[in-house]
Structure formats: structure tokens, C-alpha cells
Symmetry: none
Subunit: 326 residues, 2 copies
Amino acid sequence: MVTIRDVAKHAGVSVATVSRVLNSTGYVREDTREKVMQAITLLNYSPNEVARSLYKRESRLIGLLLPDITNPFFPQLARGIEDEVHSQGFRLLFGNSDEDLKKEAAYLHTFTQNHVVGMITARTISDDETYKRLGFPVVFLDRTSPQYPSVYADGREGGRIAAQEIIKRGSKQITLLKGPPNVKPAQERFQGALETLSGANVDFQVMNTTSFSFHEAKKWAKELFEKHANTDGVIASNDIVAAAILREALQLGKSIPDELQIVGFDDIPQSELLFPALSTIRQPAYEMGKEAAKLLLKYIKKEIVQNKHIELPVTFIERNTTRKVD
Amino acid sequence: MVTIRDVAKHAGVSVATVSRVLNSTGYVREDTREKVMQAITLLNYSPNEVARSLYKRESRLIGLLLPDITNPFFPQLARGIEDEVHSQGFRLLFGNSDEDLKKEAAYLHTFTQNHVVGMITARTISDDETYKRLGFPVVFLDRTSPQYPSVYADGREGGRIAAQEIIKRGSKQITLLKGPPNVKPAQERFQGALETLSGANVDFQVMNTTSFSFHEAKKWAKELFEKHANTDGVIASNDIVAAAILREALQLGKSIPDELQIVGFDDIPQSELLFPALSTIRQPAYEMGKEAAKLLLKYIKKEIVQNKHIELPVTFIERNTTRKVD
């Protein structure tokens, strides 16, 4: 077997220099570097898997594009992905897209330049031209896509469940918050809730919102009680908005859940630390991340994929912002 | 044109030493470093052009190692880093270390193999051998280090302020929560608070905790009121633990802040959505991330660094879990 010593001897350099070339550490003169690479090729030296893949211009890197890691839904998702890819010996190149096409394009460019072997993306527009030109597998996460492999929770069903549970517990004048129009999963949960409310024997109103930011959540909460002072049930667009509404309601002296019920969406870890603890629709964020990573790694390893669309179930987490029923 | 040799000669050191200073790799004595920086300034040496050829073969990747992105302090930090490196055309290779040395070593290995040009790390043990052998600059974040460049908030002062504010507002039987022993910033805020409490005319008790996890926070909260039912002021180890204590206190029917005051630490975005909103010590997480990225990029671009240790101020954010004073 050819060793690093043989390469060094053939190239007329030290073993340390060959090592520096292979690891791309320290300074090596360009002509020295070329001599070493030639010796490697001639002797058919195969240092180790990583150096080999480097040489072939492959990597063990996976691109990850999330809308914004400061939205508390995404750290869990990212953690699920990282745990899985790390356990299989891969690493993440990470960026926030801000749902901004220019920023996304910059990241796709970088991912290509750094020879990622695959990519996971949580983005809004799923089927444009951008992704077609990529030379590696892509998995959509928290988004459905007819053409790309995808992992998502059943948001529409989540919306239906939220509406059913709040109706079953006696709310008669329900406010449904519609999330940001460009966030597809927010629209799906909205549609699901709307469907159930429309078919039920209750009054309801829809209130539009345009973001999930902490700062704006307080604004929606104020607006809600100014516009709909007598609402007795709120289906929030996510848990952050639900927390802001809970806070505003308590400040207004409302008794929760007796006068007003609130149901959130996501089940971020903070929700169970609220008082009263938030009843919500759980999306299994960590598991979604893990499943997306598993699915992508199957494509990367060219294994057979039985199901390219993985839908994870949502569940009602009953805590104390909703009343008890038998 | 001034060369690196001229700089070395002027400073009375070897070329290798100048290189180590420029790249912030390996150990250089502080007085040697200053001599080199003076020579660079005096001779108006501009290493950028020389470095350019080297630079071309390098990547525009930066390694980022955080303890755990699901701790709500870190997404803000990560976001500050990403915004800055992205605006300067660099990208992040990201991992969670879990404060686990083996996982950290695996990431350091990957960072090297993927030719990162620098690295930002938030880790506990700051001065062991591991980081000495890296061939690229490293900035410590949320951690102090005598030898490496670092960006951190003044945790000890934060602890002092928390204690001063709660004493000033009349708590007489204070419980101080000591954070996980292996998390250095948690120990610093604890020491600061302890110092102030020790010198003040109040009774206090210390309660040990071993994690910042959401799940365990509820446990500490229960334990606190079992052990110290009559406490009238809590200095929490962070905002998550403070939220759990607030929740437990409200559940026990305590009036906040009249019977019990609570001060958190971090000012994570969720804290202002609690009811009552949490009074806390703010660490400027986003700004810390941005400053760390700026500092690292100066080393990467071989610019002159005036201050390799950047301490950002902490501030008391007065909300409604503490009483008002004039």
C-alpha cells in the first residue's frame, strides 16, 4: 500500500508538507503543492476518506436554509437535523433566508461552491426554477412540495383540531388569527380552522396579521381586544402570538380560561412555562428535523426511498388556557 | 514595498512570529504581540496583498460552535453572527457542541478539513491544547479567555446589579440560584450577585441547579418553594428558570411583585411576553454575535486589531416582577 512517506519521497518534500497539502493547513508554495498532487495521482495514493472526497471535490457538507433561527420554532428543527447528520458523519452549512429570494440565491450559490452533497430548506415558494438547477438532492422541510421530497406536519388538520377543541369547550364568539400571508404553513392551519368554524354553530371573526415577530405580537394582541372586546375564544396563528394575547388578556383582567379560551400553534418549549400554561397544537419540530435529515441522507447515499413525502401528525396539547370537558 | 521580513526585523522577532500575530494562531506573548503591532503600524505594512494568493485557495467559510441552539439565548447570538458574516460575504459551518469535548473535537476536525478561515466558539474550557493547534483565528464568544480574542458581556457586574436592584426594592429574604457549575458565565453572574448580597443587610440562601433546560426549570421552581417557602426575592440563574419560578409562584397564589420579586438573566425575547413581564438583566446577545463576527473578520482580513477583548455592558430591564422605586 502506498503511504504518505512514498508520496513525500516521490515529490521530494517532507511528510509534513504532504500533510499540509492534504489538510490545506499552513503555507505551502503553489509549485510544491502541485508536485505533491502529481505524486498523489501518479502513485494512486488514497489517504483517507475525507481527503479523498476533498480531492474529488466532494464533501460531507449539507446546506441548511431556515427562514429565521430567532423564531423559536426553528431551533428545535435545526437541532433535530444536526443530531441526525452529525451521527452519520455529516456537517451543516447554515443560513437564514429571511424568506428573501436574493439572500436565498446567495446561499444556494455558496452551497454549490462548497460542494454540499445535499440541502434542507424551509422556504415559502417551493417550485420555481431556482432549485431545478442544483446538482444535489434537496429536501423541503415544514413545507409541502409536489415535486421535491418533503417533511411537514399536517397543518390543515392542526387548524381543524384547534377549532374543534375550542368549540367543544364552549367558546361562542371566536377570533381566528390569520398568520403572515407569505408563510404557507400558517395559511394551511388557518384554512383548516376556517373550514371547521364555517361548518359549526358559532360566530367567528378573522383578524389578519403580517408577522410572527415578538415585537409585533404585542401589537396584534392589543388590536384584537380593541376590535373584538367580547371574544371568548382565540385561535392564535402561533404560540408567540398566543403568549402575547394571553398576556394582554390577563392585563385587561380577563379570567383565563373561564372568560376567554386561547389555543396556540407549535408547542414551543416556552409554552408550558406560561401561567396559565398554554393549550396548543403541537408540531413535532425536533422529529421533523430528524426525519428531513434521514430522508436527505437516503438520497445522498443513494438508498431506496419508499416515501418521498413524510407527513407527521399534529396533536392537541391540553393545558390551562382551555376549559376541561369530559 | 514593505514585506513581512521588514516587520519581523523591525520588531526583532522571527517571520513566523509575525505570521502568528497576523493570523492569531499559536501562542504569542502579549508584549511580543504589541511590538509586532507597533512595527506594522510604523512601517504601514499592508499584508492583504501578500495574503491574497494564499487567500484564493481558501474558503469563505467560518466555523461556529455553540453549546445548544435550543437554549433561547443562542439563536439571537447566532443571528448576530450570521448577519455580519453574510454581509461581508462569508458563510457559517454550524454545530452544537453540547459542551462535550468529543463532539467539539469532531467539529474542530471538520472545520479544518473544510478549510474554514476562522472560527467562533462559545465553550466552557477556554485554554486547553485543542485550540492551539488550529491553523486559523478563533474568537471566543460569551466566554472570557486571557489568550484568545473574545467577546462577552460583563456577567459579574450583571450579578451585582441584579442583587442591588432587588435589595433596593425591599426584598429581605433572598434566594440566589446558582446555575450549572460547568457554564462559566452562569458562575460569573452568581459570584457577582453573591458578592453584593454578602455585603448587604439582608438574609439570603443559595440554591444549586445543574441545567438550564425547560424541563428541569420546572423542577427547580418546585424545589425552591418547598425549601424556601418564605423567600421574598429570587435572583434566577437565567430567564427560563425565572419564567418557571414566576409560573410556580403564581400557581401557589403569590402576588407578584408585592409578596415576591423575581429578577432573571439574559432578556430573551420571550421575557417581555410573560405576565407580569419579567424584570431581568439584559445581555445584548445579538450585538455580542455581531461584535464577535466583526472581530474575527478583522483577523481573517489581517486588519489591525486594537482591542482583542470586547466586553459589552449588561443593563437592568425594569418590568413588572420587581416593585417600583423612586
